[in-house]
Amino acid sequence: MSITDTAPSDSADAGAGAASTGGDRASERVRRREPSAVLRMSEAEAAAIGGDPDDPTDDELVLLNMGPSHPSTHGVLRLMLELSGETVLRSKPVIGYLHTGMEKTGEQLTYLQGGTNVTRMDYASPLFNELAFCLATERLLGIDVPERATWIRMLMCELNRVSSHLLFMATNGMDLGAVSMMIYGWREREEVLRFFEKVTGLRMNHNYIRPGGVAADLPADWRTDVTGLIELIEPRLDEYDTLLTGQPIWRERLQGVGVINAAEAIALGATGPILRGAGMAWDLRRDEPYLFYDQVDFDVIVGTHGDCYDRYAIRLNEIRESLRIAAQIIEAMPAGDYRVQDKKVTPPPRSRIDASMEALIHHFKIFTEGFKVPPGEAYASVESPRGELGVYLVSDGTSVPYRVHVRAPSFVNLQTLPHLMQGGLIADGVAIISSVDPIMGEVDR
């Protein structure tokens, strides 16, 4: 009952509905909109009702706010829930508590500074934000990035996917009462962040991937570090399997909870593990290869039931696939430049600045005024741990983007929440929010 009424199930039907005469169109609209899982109610209306809707047929009907500060909402997500007893009828995610106008800020920072801004959006997988921003910038600049830089980007992003999914493992366990999982997830994630700190100088918000390449080359002993990470994390994943995957309580809590099918997920714009959990094999790394993903061997993990359990299992196995890719990158990494040798985009090396006046001027110009990007518009997208992360850039030919729009996967995925929660218990709601894995920093931007 939940979403099949709001989502178009077949394309021919919808196409005809919108293109035909006014009467059909109106009835079509009513059919899709009326029985909705979304509680479309403003705060003022909710305040006027005061939590107790006057419904003579259901004296257990209650309006309840969950959040914005609730341990299971992963930040500041607020849910307006319409409950009948403990059953969720309709709901509405209320967002904006972390909104700081980052897209507006992006219009005042140069392309080189832009990375520091976008990296703070999805703070659990910052390198993906930087990557999408840089790919869009490079598309406008029309430059090619050296091979080594591309491999470094892939290595760092796959390790970031590992750390992001480990964070999910930790919080998902915590939300469902498997508190030991929380400790283990954070523990392994910290090992990955330690490697990030060694390479980029920071645990999070790296500003490491920059237009034209990366900020610095990998440290000399990076192969040992990455091999160590793979050897450390892989057996731990098997321990997670023992601890959670086959455990009856864990299965009881997740299987059959928060179900969505592929047509519904596509209609609602969902991407990433939600879409793959519903049985749709769609991964931008395989289907629209960027970087060198067409040169490595990995599997796209797909679920069958579209429930919380599938989304958990997909993320767990995606860690394995990412480690598999990382192991291949260790073999494939070529020697060469870690950033493009284009004097218009790349600052001169540090050693040249002491020796050459021109290099000093050049360095100063790039870091104050920035480099100019030809006018135009471009969209670039990558497969982030949460789905399709896209950046839409408009340039007016200056060194500051005219418009920076980020297509945040969590923002769009959050639309599936009311449909996943409808008809379930509040306790299941906690499992569902957790399985959508929203990062509020990129939802609100």
């Binding site: 709001t6 178009p8 394309s11 021919a12 919808a14 196409g15 509905g17 919108a18 293109a19 079509e28 609209r29 899709r32 909109r33 909705s36 979304v38 479309r40 403003s42 705060e43 003022a44 967002i95 904006g96 909104h99 106008g101 897209e103 507006k104 219009e107 005042q108 598309r139 406008l140 596509i266 209609a267 609602l268 714009g269 969902a270 769609w282 289907d287 629209e288 006018p375 135009g376 518009e377 471009a378 969209y379 997208s381 399709e388 896209g390 839409y392 408009v394 340039s395 007016d396 030919g397 200056t398 005219y402 418009r403 729009h405 297509r407 923002f411 769009v412 959050l414 639309q415 609100d444």
Partner: protein
């Protein structure tokens, strides 16, 4: 001049080699429905740009009248692994556009965000309300004539301008 689904197809050059259509406002829903029937099953993104202070040539094809606002919808065809961007011009005198909700329910949040940030109203949208800013906020922050704002500084000499 090439056409697709009845809309003017854009020049590749200013769009970094990506496929772009320029439907008019009255064509917006019909072109979207034709694209959907042709396999573009997912609305990936919907956003807007305020071209008020844009200094460069916008590179619009012949026959497309530039307006202050432009709404951009990105479509994805899973079957053909193909993308398509629709760019529609929206005048400041009547900032409105029909909603795509009936084709892709996933447009709901995206259109609310464009309404919130640019003040472009989507006709027949099921819940046209602010999404990121507080409900009682006035103004639309991503418009180019909306100041980025400053935080008042608590020093005697500072002239607390806001």
């Amino acid at each position: 001049m090439t056409e697709r689904y009845g809309a003017i197809a854009g020049d590749d050059q200013p769009s970094a080699g990506q496929a772009v259509l320029h439907p008019s406002r009255s064509q917006w829903c019909d072109v979207a429905a034709a694209a959907r029937a042709d396999g573009f099953d997912q609305l990936i993104d919907l956003t807007a740009v305020d071209y008020l202070t844009y200094g460069a040539d916008r590179g619009l094809p012949e026959g497309v009248e530039p307006e202050r606002f432009e709404v951009i919808a990105s479509l994805l065809s899973h079957e053909r692994r193909e993308r398509l961007r629709m760019r529609v011009q929206v005048p400041v005198g009547d900032p409105s556009l029909p909603t795509l909700f009936d084709l892709w329910p996933g447009s709901e949040s995206l259109e609310r965000e464009v309404y919130d940030m640019f003040g472009i109203a989507f006709e027949d949208h099921p819940d046209l309300s602010r999404i990121l800013m507080p409900e009682d906020w006035s103004g639309h922050p991503l418009r180019k004539d909306y100041d980025a704002g400053q935080i008042p500084v608590q020093f005697k000499a500072a002239s607390n301008v806001r």
